[in-house]
Each structure stands twice: as C-alpha cells, then as structure tokens.
C-alpha cells in the first residue's frame, strides 16, 4: 500500500512540477518586456524598472527559474503589485470560502446522487429512472453559470427566498448556510446527474455478478446485499470521478462566486486578471492546480483503499 502511495505521489509531483514550469514559461513566451506585460504599456519607466528589479525580471532566465522555485519552496508566491501584501496570504485568505462552496456542492451532489442512482438501478425503467436519466443529461449539459444566473433571477431577486449576494455574516452559521444554498445548487446540479448515472450503471453491472448470486444463495437480505455488497463496489467509480471533479468544480466555483458576489479564489482571480495583478493571477492558478493534482491523488488512494484489487497495479490512467 505504501509503495502505491509513493508511486502515485511521485507522479503527481512530476505533473505539478511540469504545470508550474509551464506557468512560469508562459510569462516569458510573450514577446516583449515582461514588465510591460505586467504593468501595461502606459506605466512609467521608473515603475517598470522597479518591478523589473523587484521581480528579478532582468536576470537571465535560468536564474529566474531558480529563484522562482526557491521562492516557491519557501511558500513565497510573490507580492501583490498594488498592495504589497504577500500573494500567499491573499490567496489563502480567500481559499477557505471557495473550499466551503465546493465541498457543499460535492457533498450535496453525492447525498442526492448516490441514492438516486441506486434506486434507478433497482427500479429499472420506472418513471423515477427515466426522469432521472433525462434530467441528469440535461443538467450535465447546461453550463453551470447559466443555471446560476437563472437561480439568481428567480429565487433570489424575484422571489427573495435566498440572498443574492455575499457569503453571510461571519460566525452566523445559519446565515452562511443560507447564502451557500443557491451557489452550491448551481455548482452541484450537474454533478447530481453525473453521479446518479454513474452509480446506476455500476449497480446494474455489479448486481449481475456472481458474487451477488452467492450472497443471495446464502440468504442475505436484499438490503444487506444492496448496501454492503453491491453499493460498496458500485460507488468506486464515483470516488475517482469526485477526485477529478474537484478541478472542474474549482472552475465552476469561479462563476458562482462572481454571480453571487461571494468571496473566494475565483473572485480573486477574476479581479486580478482585470487589473493585471500578475503575481496574484499566477499565485491563484498555482494554488488551484496544486489542489486539483492533490485531490486526484487522494481519490486514487481512497479508491485503492476501498478496492484491494487496485493496490497491486501500477495504477491506471
């Protein structure tokens, strides 16, 4: 088991390294003076010189790369161009809001999706099954920001059931939960369908298998069979998907945060892009990519924990 974790961990690190290097390289692939890129052509030469020096942009490329990585290793993601605060602080201030949103969305989607998928499989071709199937496809297809906009329009602005802006009062759990509902729904709706379909397909496959027949032959109750035997195997693909899904969710969270004016990495990144706050852009993208790679790794490990057959493998891809 440990060997498995080590192997996957190394691979993840490699990919992260490449991704980060790519980000770094992008700065320098742009024709022209990087300081120009960062500050825009209208900045004064003194300001440009200062930025160049501060960010070490006048040094040779390899030196810059080395500095970049040593900084990174020390947790130094650079400094906000406007406020001079460390990017690290800024990003990790906003990160919890996004994480809460993503977790709420995934949690809700799983809580709804797994039973839906399970029931669809048990009562195949029933009305519930067919309805779930169509709605699943529909909500997977429709972009989440459109859903968010419509939810905002109807439920928040028109009917005022939910707040339209912000994350709620600090310390007031109910208020924050109230503010979470619409964005979490917008983010998670597509996933409910996806999970339901996945669980349904897996369940149908598993229920056909011989060991289920054995369990029945030993008189185990249908409930035991479904929950402990079938579902346990059927949820495995879901775990993998969830790990990868966090990455997509982070992107989707961006829209939810902007549309519902919530604080978070997405909002931070968006503003940074508009104001050309370069270090913040890079810092945010880096952190989210790292999260994505990490979550994929964790889900692979959980998968291997749940299904012993995967441990011997060199891992899938």
């Amino acid at each position: 088991m440990l060997a498995f974790i080590a192997r996957r961990g190394l691979l993840a690190l490699l990919i992260l390294f490449l991704a980060v290097s790519l980000l770094f390289a992008m700065i320098h692939m742009i024709p022209g003076d990087p300081a120009n890129v960062i500050l825009g052509p209208k900045a004064s030469p003194e300001l440009k010189a200062e930025i160049s020096q501060r960010m070490g942009l006048d040094q040779p490329l390899l030196v810059q790369l080395g500095r970049f990585y040593t900084d990174l290793a020390q947790g130094n993601l650079g400094v906000d161009v406007f406020s001079d605060r460390p990017v690290f602080d800024i990003v990790f201030e906003q990160l919890p809001y996004t994480l809460v949103l993503v977790l709420a969305a995934i949690g809700g989607a799983t809580l709804l999706g797994v039973p839906l998928g399970c029931f669809s499989a048990i009562r195949r071709n029933s009305l519930l099954d067919r309805l779930t199937a169509v709605l699943s496809v529909a909500f997977i297809a429709i972009p989440s920001f459109v859903v968010a906009l419509y939810l905002l329009l109807w439920l928040a602005v028109k009917w005022r059931w939910f707040p339209a802006m912000g994350a709620g009062e600090d310390g007031d759990f109910m208020d924050q939960a109230h503010h979470l509902v619409l964005p979490a729904i917008a983010l998670g709706l597509g996933w409910v369908g996806y999970i339901a379909r996945l669980v349904r397909a897996s369940m149908l496959e598993v229920m056909e298998e011989n060991h289920i027949r054995t369990a029945r032959a030993f008189g185990l109750s249908e409930r035991t069979i479904i929950v402990h035997y079938a579902l346990r195997i059927a949820v495995l693909p879901t775990v993998t998907i969830l790990g990868m899904g966090i990455g997509t969710m982070l992107s989707g969270a961006l829209f939810a945060e902007i549309i519902f004016s919530r604080p978070g990495i997405g909002k931070l990144l968006h503003e940074a892009v508009i104001t050309r706050n370069y270090p913040v852009v890079m810092g945010s993208v880096l952190v989210t990519t790292a999260f994505f790679v990490l979550s994929t790794l964790v889900s692979d490990i959980i998968n291997a924990l749940l299904d012993p057959r995967l441990r011997e493998d060199g891992g899938s891809s």
Binding site: L14, I15, L16, L18, A19, L22, L23, M26, I27, I30, V37, R124, N125, V134, V137, A138, I140, A141, I142, P143, F145, V146, L149, Y150, L152, L153, V157, K158, G247, T248, L250, S251, G252, L254, F255, I258, I259, L269, H270, A272, V273, I274, R276, Y278, V281, M282, S284, V285, T288, T289, F292, V293, T296, S317
Partner: protein
C-alpha cells in the same frame, strides 16, 4: 470499402426510435440554420443603439425585448449564434486534427514518444480549464481568438487520448502486422485501417464537445474575457443582462435560452449517436 450509405440509413432508422435523439437532431439543425442565416433572419442590426427604448419588455417590434442600450436582443442572440457555431467549428476541427496526429504518434510511434506525450496530456488535464484560460488572458489580453486558442489547447488531450487508445489496441492486431510485413507504409496503415475505426468515437466526442466548447466561450465572454463589446456573443449578452438584472430580466432569460437549447440539443443528439454507433461497434445488443 466501408458501407457508408447502409450505415447512414441504419443510423437514421435507429435514431427515429429515440424521441430525445430526434428532438436533439431537430434542435441541432435549427440552430445551425439560424446561425448560418442570422444576418437575414435578424429583424434589426444587432449593434443599433436606441437609447429611448432601453430594457424594454418583449413586444411585437422586439420579440425578446431590448438591452441596456436599446439594442434588439433577438438580433443579438441570432448573431451570437453565429459566433458560437463559428467557435465550435473552428476549435473542434483544429483540436480534432491535432489530437488525431498526436494520438497516432503516441500510439504508433516509439515508446519514449508515447511516454512524453502522455505526460504532456496529463499535465494539460491537471489545469482547471477556466483557470488556465484566465492565466493566458492575463498575459495576452482578452479576445475571441485567445479564447479559441485556449479552448483548442485544452481540448487536444481528450481527442488525442481516444486516438492513442485505439491506435495502441489496433497496433497489436495481426492484420496490421501482416500489412507491415508486406511492406505497407505507416501512413497508409494509419489511413486505411486506424482511421475508419476511430471515426465513430471521434464523431461522438466531437458532437458531445460542442456544448462544452460553446459553454466555455460563453462563460469566458460572460467574464469579459472573450469577445470585446459590442460584439454580441451569448456570454456577453448575459453579462450585460447581469449588470441590469434588477431592471429587466429579459436579457438574461433571452441570453440563457439559446445556450440551454444548444447544449441540450447537441448533448441529446450526441448521446443518441453514441447509443447507436457504440453497440454496433462492439456487436452487442442495444443499450440498457
């Protein structure tokens, strides 16, 4: 060599049994036609400003109302459709072409090349797409071409993977080895054997990709990072509508509708296509 007419006829026959697939197909056709003929169908110039008529509700003159500058939303939506379809066409064909090449290199070429390419693909896939788009836009500046470029780069791995898997699988087949023994060149093998086998999965992926691509462009334009005003992309219509949400709901409703229709239509159609083509490829009975 391939029974093209028979396959198409069978496809249509099977399609007829699936109501969602039919609905999807009809929507797809309508959207494509509407986009193609947008300039002719649009009642007004999408850029024509009429400040006295801002944020008007739908009326006979303006079927979908007007936006904050008095422009006819319907016309803007129709032209937006043109942009959406153009983006879809360009990005998907380019991603497909490059993905095809890279996938074949990975599948048929030497092992080291395969390893490198796979790591590249995985690295690309490790970026949350929108984040990557934002990073690029931060550097280059917003424009429709930038958006298309980003979409292409992030779409290539998916196509390449399918091609690679199929190529790897087919590479081991005896008849390929036999052909090589008889001196057939690799491009020829790729063209006559590998290509027909991957045509179906690629077609399915492409049709399922349209909603994703259209959604991405709309999303980026919504964020102000895609088309520049006053170009009417569906995303930018939604963006304008969002700013004036409390004044009039119509721009949002109108801007969202085509997105919903297109994504649903292409997805239902693509799913139908997959149900029809896949089981046939594997020789199983129908799905479910």
């Amino acid at each position: 060599m391939s029974p093209q007419p028979a396959l198409i006829a069978q496809t249509f026959a099977a399609l007829r049994k699936d109501p969602l697939g039919i609905a999807g197909f009809i929507i797809v056709v309508l959207v494509l036609l509407a986009s193609l003929f947008a300039p002719m169908l649009a009642p007004s110039d999408p850029l024509e400003i009429d400040v006295y008529n801002r944020l008007a509700d739908p009326s006979w003159e303006h079927w979908l109302g007007t936006d904050q500058l008095g422009r006819d939303v319907l016309s803007r939506v129709l032209h937006g459709g043109q942009i959406a379809m153009k983006v879809a066409l360009v990005t998907i064909s380019v991603s497909l072409a490059i993905g095809l090449l890279l996938g074949m290199f990975a599948g048929f070429g030497p092992k080291w090349l395969d390893r490198i390419l796979v790591i590249c693909f995985d690295t690309m896939r490790s970026f949350p797409t929108i984040m990557f788009a934002l990073a690029v836009v931060a550097l280059i500046g917003p424009s429709l071409n930038t958006v298309m470029g980003v979409i292409i780069i992030t779409s290539i791995p998916a196509y390449a993977r399918i091609v690679r898997t199929q190529t790897l699988a087919l590479r081991e087949n005896d008849f390929i080895l036999a052909e090589q023994a008889m001196g057939a060149s690799i491009p020829r093998i790729l063209r006559s054997h590998i290509l027909p086998n991957i045509a179906a999965p690629l077609l399915i992926l492409a049709s399922m990709d349209v909603p994703a691509v259209v959604g991405m462009e709309a999303g980026l334009s919504f964020l102000g990072l895609g088309v520049s005003p006053p170009t009417p992309s569906w995303g930018s219509i939604l963006n304008d509508g969002y700013s004036y949400l409390r004044n009039s709901p119509w721009p949002i409703i109108a801007g969202g509708l085509p997105l919903i229709l297109v994504t649903l239509g292409f997805t239902f159609f693509g799913e139908s296509l997959r149900d029809i083509l896949d089981p046939k490829l594997r020789g199983k009975g129908g799905a479910d």
